[in-house]
């Protein structure tokens, strides 16, 4: 058997650094004399380099999506009694006051009071500076839930009335920012046509203001609300869902559907007469 024949089966492993010292030495000695096998090694190396060069780079958007997925997973793990789509921002963004009010609302709205009671209790204790008693917690929870219900009702009513928008130029939208307290941009909702914007004082939230952006899509009126999600905890009584990997809070009131998402402390909610899945898709589109 010629030296090349003996070496051939070793060349791959040699290039991969998988040979014993003895074998490596044998191959190296052979390579000194054999231009052909040297060329084989070089070609293997060149192919390897080419393959590496074509490696994709993870986009920032993809990284953000993964972080959100892992955060949701951790959240789920820490609160196993709940369904997916719990607020992602508790730990990082939202002030403890929101945590307390949302937790209280959940405690009242959901049939699993054990874990949520504890959470609400802890949050409330830190707020109030005393240990919670279950009766005051219950009543507080009930009042928060009632407030959020009233809030949703206000948003649906505003949408239903379709009052005339007072800002109709996109360039003027940023003037709403001081009133609303969060950045107001003009998201494009698939093929929807933007008709105008106004500012809506939300009575149920002590007149905290939300921007109301009106769109029209295929003959349906769509209202997109933009607000400080720390002050308007819409998600508290809506049903959590995941749409395109984004947690969405969805509900229906009086034949209208409402869907809310949050990102970086800004809440976006749409009210439409479309069905709830369509509203959920629209509101997710507002994030992009």
């Amino acid at each position: 058997m010629s030296p090349c024949r003996r070496m051939l089966p070793l060349l791959d492993a040699f290039g991969d650094g998988e040979l014993s010292a003895d074998q490596s030495l044998q191959v190296e000695q052979h390579l000194v004399d054999c231009g052909h096998c040297t060329e084989r090694i070089r070609l293997n190396e060149a192919v390897r380099v080419s393959m590496k060069r074509a490696a994709p780079v993870p986009s920032a958007a993809f990284k953000a999506r993964l972080c959100a997925a892992l955060a949701a997973e951790r959240q789920r793990e820490e609160h196993p009694s709940e369904r997916i789509g719990r607020p992602l921002s508790w730990r990082t963004i939202a002030p403890i006051a929101v945590a307390a009010s949302v937790a209280l609302a959940f405690a009242a709205a959901r049939p699993k009071p054990d874990t949520m009671g504890a959470v609400a209790g802890a949050a409330r204790a830190s707020l109030m500076g005393h240990s919670p008693s279950s009766s005051s917690m219950q009543s507080n929870a009930a009042s928060v839930t009632a407030t959020v219900e009233q809030l949703i009702d206000e948003l649906v009513t505003h949408h239903q009335q379709g009052s005339h928008p007072n800002v109709t130029e996109a360039a003027l939208l940023e003037q709403l920012e001081p009133e609303v307290g969060v950045p107001v941009r003009l998201p494009s909702l698939y093929g929807a046509r933007w008709e105008g914007a106004s500012v809506l004082p939300v009575k149920a939230m002590r007149n905290q203001r939300a921007a109301s952006l009106r769109y029209s899509v295929g003959g349906h009126r769509v209202t997109l609300y933009v607000y400080n999600s720390a002050n308007v905890p819409l998600r508290a009584t809506l049903e959590p869902r995941v749409v395109y990997n984004t947690p969405v809070y969805v509900g229906e009131r009086r034949g209208y559907s409402i869907a809310a998402v949050e990102r970086r402390g800004v809440g976006y909610a749409v009210a439409t007469d479309l069905n709830d899945s369509e509203s959920a898709e629209l509101v997710v589109a507002s994030l992009h």
């Binding site: 090349c4 051939l8 052909h36 070609l43 951790r74 793990e77 802890a122 949050a123």
Partner: protein
């Protein structure tokens, strides 16, 4: 609310350090970027759930690649890898004579630099056309630089099988590259096969496919 530390702590951060590796492998396994991203996301979530099973101090990247591979096989290829083929007898491992030194030099370093991207693209396409088990072995070894032992762990097969898959996979790649270079006139036609005659026509995507059709 404070964050409850979950061992190993800061799993997310550690895991995301391997994101490029996971995406590199996922991209080669799947058909498009969206599918690759979904596969990586599935992998990360599974790894997160199973993080207590990870032994600190061992190779986390290899551990996650194993999860990725299993996820891919289970979810995207319900039938598993193409066992019928990979359990079949390997082609004569010595039938590897291949082409002349000058042709190999032209392949790895074409005289016209403009041709290099063309050849690189060709390698990318050839890789995509490799049967999965070969492609996976080649990517894990050449792109991710895992050891044979680690690849064996990831793919759930003996080291010997890894070597055979690597060898065959790389041979198919180079053969395809050579054919393409021949078409483009980067190398000339030749009958020279190594230093001594080995069985001709060593590589055989076409043969493989024909066989695969019969098997399937």
């Amino acid at each position: 609310m404070t964050r409850r530390p979950s061992p190993p702590d800061d799993f997310e951060q550690l895991a995301l350090e391997h994101l490029s590796s996971l995406l590199a492998v996922a991209t080669r396994l799947t058909r498009n970027g969206a599918e690759a991203e979904d596969l990586v996301q599935d992998t990360l979530v599974k790894a997160f759930r199973a993080r207590e099973q990870f032994t600190p101090g061992t190779n986390m990247r290899a551990w996650m690649l194993r999860i990725l591979t299993n996820t891919f096989i289970n979810r995207y290829r319900r039938g598993g890898l193409e066992r019928a083929v990979l359990d079949g007898p390997d082609a004569d491992p010595l039938a590897d004579g291949w082409v002349s030194s000058s042709s190999m030099a032209a392949l790895r370093d074409p005289e016209t630099t403009a041709l290099r991207p063309v050849l690189e693209r060709e390698i990318g396409e050839a890789l995509r056309e490799l049967p999965e088990e070969f492609r996976l072995a080649v990517v894990l070894a050449d792109v991710e630089e895992l050891s044979y032992k680690e690849i064996a762990d990831v793919m759930g097969c003996p080291v010997g099988t890894v070597m055979s898959r690597l060898h065959r996979g790389r041979r198919m790649l180079k053969s395809r590259l050579y054919e393409h270079a021949l078409e483009m006139g980067i190398v000339g036609p030749e009958k020279v096969v190594g230093h001594e005659p080995a069985s001709t026509n060593t590589v055989d995507l076409a043969q493989y496919r024909a066989r695969r059709v019969k098997v399937g």
